[in-house]
Every structure is written in structure tokens, then in C-alpha cells.
């Protein structure tokens, strides 16, 4: 399976991947109830960063705020040290919401063709994408007739047809069984290897541990820890712990 869809800029070979995007002080309250409290972190080019936290931790709110789809009380995004205003974020960041069945009365083929036409992709690229994510059997089906797994694959397909260097994905493995999850993880690793940066909001810690390079642990809208699993083990003084134990220790 070959994915050659990413068009992220080529970077010089360095020991440490270059810093791509920095998130500073994201704060959001709903009726005096804090949803995000000064959340800050950074992400490098080609990295897979996991936003980890239980339901209600603020993962979706954070992703929507970064994408500019949710007004925030405070917070800014730096792109390679330059301030990235809200109205320009869609040029660099594409956000894939959770649980969507977009344009559900349309055929899968038509939606893929629409996204491809918007971003100037060829018919061959549409077919490659459909084939890579296993959508070929349902191209002639309407979106509202798809199973949960195929609906998730469609969303993934749409995201892969975009050329944005950063993809924000909310619960990308929700709706997949174990085998499908492993397939999609392999696909996402290939996407990241081609230079795109992935920020994944995941509440299944086992899935997150398998795919993410680094983690941002969130609880009640606050950052409880940032780093690789090794960094977090050092921080918690639990050298043999898995992500689950580390997360419980830090939150």
C-alpha cells in the first residue's frame, strides 16, 4: 500500500525534527466552567502527537480551537515562530471531527471527487486513496448507508486528499475493530513518514501508546504532562510503566 498524498515541504535533515507549530495559553470557558486552562504545547514536522485524556478532558474543544472553529477566551498559534491568525489556519491545518457523516445523502465517490477537485487532485489520486483506505467497495453507496467503520474510513479519505501539513484528528480509531485499527495506524504512520504532522485526540490509551511519538496528557482542561513515554516515565519515576499507569499517576 503506497500513499504519496502528503505535500508537506521538504526539510533539511536534522537530528531533532524542526518545530512546526506552537500552541500558547489556550483558554476557554463555557458559562464560567473552564474547558481549557492555559493549554500550551508544541509539535514538530512529521510527528504524531497524541492528545490523551478521558471523555470531557477538553480534547475536542482544544482541536476545534486550534483549527479556528471555536472562539476562545485566550490563546495563540505560532507557525515556525510566526503568529498564525485564526483566518489563516485553514491554509495549514485541517481538522477532522469525530462522528461525522458529512453530506450523508451523497455518494462516496462524489464526495471524494469533490475534495479532489477542490484541491486539484487527479482521478488517479482519488482511486489510490480509496484503495489505500479500503473504500473501493462502497464508492457507489450513499454516506448514510455506510457502516460506522466505512464512515470513519471516508472521513480519513477526505483528510488524505487535503494537502495540509498538519492534520488534527478527533478519535481516528473510533469505530474500527482491532485489525482495522492496526491497518489505519500503519497508514497514518506512512502519512507522517511522508512529512505530514498528525495531532490525534485519543481516549483509548493502548491505541495511543502504539501510534504516537509524544503525548500531551489532558485532564479537566489542563495539561498534566508532555513528552515521550520515556520522558513521562522519568517524570513519574515509574521506569517500567505503560502509558495507562503513567496517565493515572499524573492526573
Amino acid at each position: 500500500m503506497t500513499i504519496a498524498l502528503a505535500t508537506a515541504p521538504s526539510e533539511p535533515s536534522m537530528a531533532q525534527p524542526p518545530l512546526l507549530m506552537e500552541i500558547f495559553g489556550f483558554t476557554k470557558t463555557y458559562s464560567r466552567q473552564p474547558a481549557l486552562a492555559e493549554v500550551s504545547f508544541s509539535v514538530s514536522a512529521g510527528e504524531i502527537l497524541g492528545l490523551i485524556g478521558p471523555n470531557g478532558a477538553g480534547k475536542t474543544t482544544l482541536l476545534e480551537a486550534i483549527a479556528g472553529l471555536l472562539p476562545v477566551d485566550d490563546g495563540r498559534v505560532l507557525w515556525r515562530t510566526t503568529l498564525l491568525p485564526v483566518w489563516r489556519r485553514r491554509e495549514l491545518i485541517f481538522y477532522l471531527p469525530d462522528g461525522l457523516r458529512p453530506w450523508d445523502d451523497q455518494y462516496v465517490q462524489r464526495l471524494l471527487e469533490f475534495f479532489a477537485a477542490v484541491y486539484g487532485k487527479s482521478e488517479i489520486e482519488v482511486k489510490e486513496t480509496a484503495s489505500a483506505i479500503g473504500l473501493a467497495p462502497v464508492l457507489g453507496k450513499r454516506v448514510n448507508a455506510l457502516s460506522k467503520g466505512f464512515a470513519r474510513r471516508l472521513m480519513l479519505g477526505l483528510a488524505l486528499l487535503t494537502p495540509h501539513p498538519v492534520l488534527l484528528m478527533d478519535e481516528p480509531f473510533d469505530g474500527f475493530d482491532l485489525r482495522q485499527t492496526r491497518e489505519v495506524m500503519g497508514l497514518l504512520r506512512q502519512v507522517a513518514a511522508n512529512g505530514r504532522t498528525l495531532v490525534l485526540a485519543i481516549h483509548q490509551l493502548a491505541d495511543a501508546e502504539r501510534i504516537c511519538d509524544r503525548f500531551v496528557l489532558l485532564a479537566d482542561g489542563r495539561v498534566c504532562g508532555i513528552g515521550t513515554l520515556a520522558d513521562l516515565r522519568v517524570k513519574t519515576a515509574m521506569p517500567a510503566a505503560g502509558l495507562e499507569e503513567v496517565f493515572l499517576a499524573l492526573t
Binding site: 505535500t7 491554509e91 471531527p97 458529512p102 453530506w103 450523508d104 469533490f114 473501493a136 494537502p163
Partner: protein
């Protein structure tokens, strides 16, 4: 603006977006349901109109004088399009709301606003979809013109086009309201309530406060139904067109203000206030434009050609002081038959209402009912509201001879006893079947070459 990353388009071609919007409209059950409901409504109205016109024509064919009052615009087109007006008022908001509301409800809007299109482009594409929807749902009423023509009926191109243009403007206005309602509402049900508040609210205005004096009269003029009246009278009203276009632009701008999910409610309210003020100014300016072009074949909105030529030669200021209240039926007659025509024929006409905007009940003035005509230094008074009285007085004041009427310029009238039964077969049989067939056709899956797909994927 150039994207900071190479290869990331900051703008995308419009074609795919328009194609997507068109597919969305065609996939809408609301559209096809409306189309099916409109068929019998239009069919019955057309059947009734042809039947009544035929009865009147029976007398008209015996007498040329009676025939002059037989206009297909009044007898056929306006009643048939009137049924379409009811359908557009009550049903078209649901079609327009779906163009945006469905994406909002399913969350697709969150993907749409991330695509490289400006908000104004998204709204324009959706408005284009509303226009396409109006054209589709207008198929039955437009087909009535073809049936009438095939029955041997007469249609004036200018006045029929004008009537269609009026209904198009009205449909687009209702569509723009639907888009605005969908944009500000979280659900399609709420959007429907908002949109119907405008359309049915207009009927309430018509029934309750139309004909009332003063401020209430001005409020009643904001009714959407007022948009169609001049078009139905064979008039191309420039002021109305400017006002409706301003209102459409206003509703679309408001829809654009409320569309992006990333802006705070406070920001949206501030921008909306600016938009409302701008549009209100535009509508106010438009209401001051009284200019209109008479496109009626029977020239009902103009004096005869000879009178128009003679009046155009009177260049001194003409001041008409009317001692009537605006809601008095005599004033309505005077306004329609004399004042509006004079304003179109002469360049320097001033009309004054001596009674101001006081209530009809307080008209105990002895001069009530008088019309004072002042042309240059000379003036005269009459109580007649007929042009047959007023025009000779005006010529006398100007020291001009009344013009000799041009023979053969009178409207002949078009009596016709047509067979209405083919229309019944069309509206209650053939057209619904064609609509169902088109619905089925639109739901076919796109062609996918599975063998080719597998081969290319393997390569």
C-alpha cells in the same frame, strides 16, 4: 493571499463547489415534494383561470368594446402565478433552509468552512443553488405559459417577462431569508420558524394594518407581498427592484456573518448591526425611487401616446395639492389613474397631501376631496379623480390644445375560449410522472468502473 507553505492553495476553483451545491439541491426531498405539491395547485389555478377567461371571452367575442378589457396578463398569467406565489411563500423556505441547514445539522459545515473558499463564496454558491431550486420548482408555472400559447392564447413578451422577473425576485428574496434563517439557527426546525415569521408575517401585515394611516401604513409597505404588486400591474418598478436587491444582499451578508463557527456571538452581533443599518439605508433610498417603466401591453400605467407626447412638452413645474387622506379609496384611484402616470410622463411634478397623515375619521374640512392643480402661475380646482377631467384642466392651465388621439392605438383585447382539459392531463398526469422519473434519475449512483479501478490500484 499567498499561503506560507508551498503547494497549499489559498483559493480553490468555484466549479466543484457549485457542482456540489447543485447535487445537494437535487438530492433534497423537500425540493421534489414541493414540486409534486405545486403541480395540482398550479394546475387547478390555471384550469380556473382559463375557464373564467373563456366565459368572459364569449361576451367579448360579440363586442369589441368588451374585448378591450380582456388581458391575458390579468386573466391567465397573474392568477396562475398567484398559486406559485402561495407555494413559494409557504414551501420554498424549507427548500432554501435545507441548502445550508442540512450541512449545519450533520456537521458537514465544519468541513466546508475549512475548504479554501471565502465565506462570501460559500454563500454565493448556496444562493446559486437556491436560484437553481427556484427554477426547478417553477417548472409547473412556467409550463402554463407554454400551454396557453399552444392553446392559441396571446402573451406579451414584455409584460410576461416582467411578471416572471417579479416572481424570480420574490423567490430569491424568500430564498435569501431561508439561508439567513438557517445560518442563525441551530436546527432546521428553528430556521423554518424564523423564515415563516417573515413570509407569513407579511400576510399578517397585509391583513391587519394595510390601509391604516401614518406609521402603520409605512410598516405595511415592508410586507413581502408588496414586492409583486407592481409586476402584476405590468410595471417594472425600479425602486422596488433596488429595494429587494438590497434586502437580498442584506440577508445573504447576515447569513455570511453568522456562518463561520469560529467567531464569538458578540462579534457576530456587532457585524450584524452594521449590516442591518446599511441595508435599512439602502431600502430607504430605494423607497424614494418612484421611477417605473410601463411594460403592460394595454398601457394601463400610462396615458395614451398622444397625451404622453403632449405632457412631455409641458416643462413648467406642476404642483398637485390633494385634500384626501392616503387611505381614502378616492386617493387610491387618483394615485393609480392620474398621479403615478403624470409622474412618469412629466419631468417636474410635485404632489402634496394637504391633509397630511391624519385619520380618515377627522376629515371634517370643507375642502376635503378637492384637488388643486397649479401649473406655473395658474391654478384650478376639481373634485374629480378621473384623468378625463384632470388632463383637459391641465392643458387649459398650460394654454395647450388637448392632443388628437392616434387612431388604432387602442388595446384590442385578446378574447379566447380555450379548451382547459389538456392542462388537467398535464398537471394531474404527465407532469407528476415526469417529476417522479426525474427524481428517480437524480438518485442514480455515479458511474464507477470497478474493473478499471482494481487494475489501476494494482499498478
Amino acid at each position: 493571499m499567498r499561503s506560507p507553505e508551498r503547494g497549499i492553495p489559498s483559493r480553490a476553483p468555484l466549479g466543484p463547489l457549485l457542482t456540489k451545491e447543485l447535487w445537494q439541491v437535487i438530492a433534497s426531498r423537500a425540493l421534489w415534494t414541493m414540486l409534486l405539491l405545486v403541480c395540482p395547485l398550479i394546475g387547478y389555478s390555471y384550469f380556473q383561470a382559463v375557464s373564467l377567461y373563456g366565459e368572459a371571452s364569449a361576451a367579448g367575442q360579440q363586442s369589441p368594446v368588451l374585448a378591450t378589457s380582456l388581458s391575458p396578463l390579468d386573466g391567465i398569467s397573474v392568477p396562475t402565478f398567484g398559486a406559485a406565489y402561495v407555494a413559494v411563500t409557504l414551501l420554498f423556505p424549507f427548500v432554501a433552509i435545507r441548502v445550508l441547514g442540512h450541512e449545519k445539522e450533520t456537521g458537514a459545515l465544519r468541513l466546508l468552512v475549512q475548504l479554501p473558499y471565502r465565506v462570501s463564496t460559500l454563500i454565493t454558491a448556496k444562493f446559486a443553488a437556491v436560484l437553481a431550486a427556484w427554477l426547478i420548482v417553477s417548472t409547473p408555472v412556467l409550463s402554463s405559459l407554454v400551454i396557453w400559447k399552444l392553446s392559441g392564447g396571446h402573451l406579451s413578451a414584455a409584460e410576461t417577462s416582467n411578471l416572471v422577473a417579479g416572481h424570480l425576485l420574490y423567490g430569491l428574496l424568500v430564498g435569501a431569508i431561508g439561508l439567513f434563517a438557517a445560518s442563525v439557527s441551530e436546527s432546521s426546525a428553528t430556521a423554518a420558524i424564523v423564515a415563516l415569521a417573515f413570509t407569513i408575517g407579511s400576510w399578517v401585515l397585509d391583513f391587519t394594518i394595510a390601509g391604516q394611516p401614518g406609521f402603520l401604513e409605512w410598516i405595511a409597505r415592508l410586507s413581502l407581498t408588496q414586492v409583486l404588486r407592481p409586476f402584476e400591474q405590468g410595471l417594472l418598478p425600479v425602486g422596488t427592484i433596488v429595494g429587494v436587491v438590497a434586502a437580498i444582499c442584506g440577508f445573504l451578508t447576515l447569513a455570511g456573518v453568522w456562518l463561520p463557527p469560529g467567531h464569538s456571538v458578540k462579534t457576530k452581533i456587532v457585524r450584524s448591526a452594521g449590516c442591518v443599518v446599511t441595508v435599512a439605508l439602502g431600502v430607504l433610498i430605494a423607497s424614494r425611487i418612484g421611477f417605473g417603466i410601463d411594460v403592460a401591453e394595454d398601457r394601463r400605467n400610462s396615458f395614451s401616446v398622444a397625451d404622453e407626447r403632449a405632457l412631455a412638452g409641458l416643462t413648467e413645474p406642476l404642483v398637485l395639492t390633494v385634500h384626501l387622506t392616503p387611505e381614502d379609496p378616492r386617493y387610491q384611484d387618483l394615485r393609480r389613474n392620474v398621479l403615478a402616470k403624470l409622474q412618469r410622463a412629466m419631468s417636474n411634478v410635485t404632489i402634496r397631501l394637504a391633509s397630511g397623515r391624519q385619520s380618515f375619521a377627522r376629515t371634517d374640512d370643507d375642502r376635503y376631496g378637492e384637488i388643486e392643480i397649479a401649473y406655473g402661475p395658474r391654478s384650478d380646482t376639481t373634485r374629480s379623480t378621473s384623468p378625463r377631467e384632470i388632463l383637459p384642466m391641465l392643458y387649459a392651465l398650460a394654454g395647450a390644445e388637448p392632443p388628437v388621439q392616434i387612431p388604432g392605438a387602442e388595446y384590442p383585447g385578446y378574447p379566447l375560449i380555450a379548451d382547459e382539459r389538456p392542462a388537467l392531463a398535464w398537471y394531474f398526469g404527465a407532469l407528476p410522472v415526469l417529476i417522479v422519473f426525474a427524481w428517480w434519475w437524480s438518485r442514480r449512483p455515479p458511474h464507477i468502473n470497478k474493473a478499471r479501478t482494481a487494475k489501476e490500484a494494482a499498478l
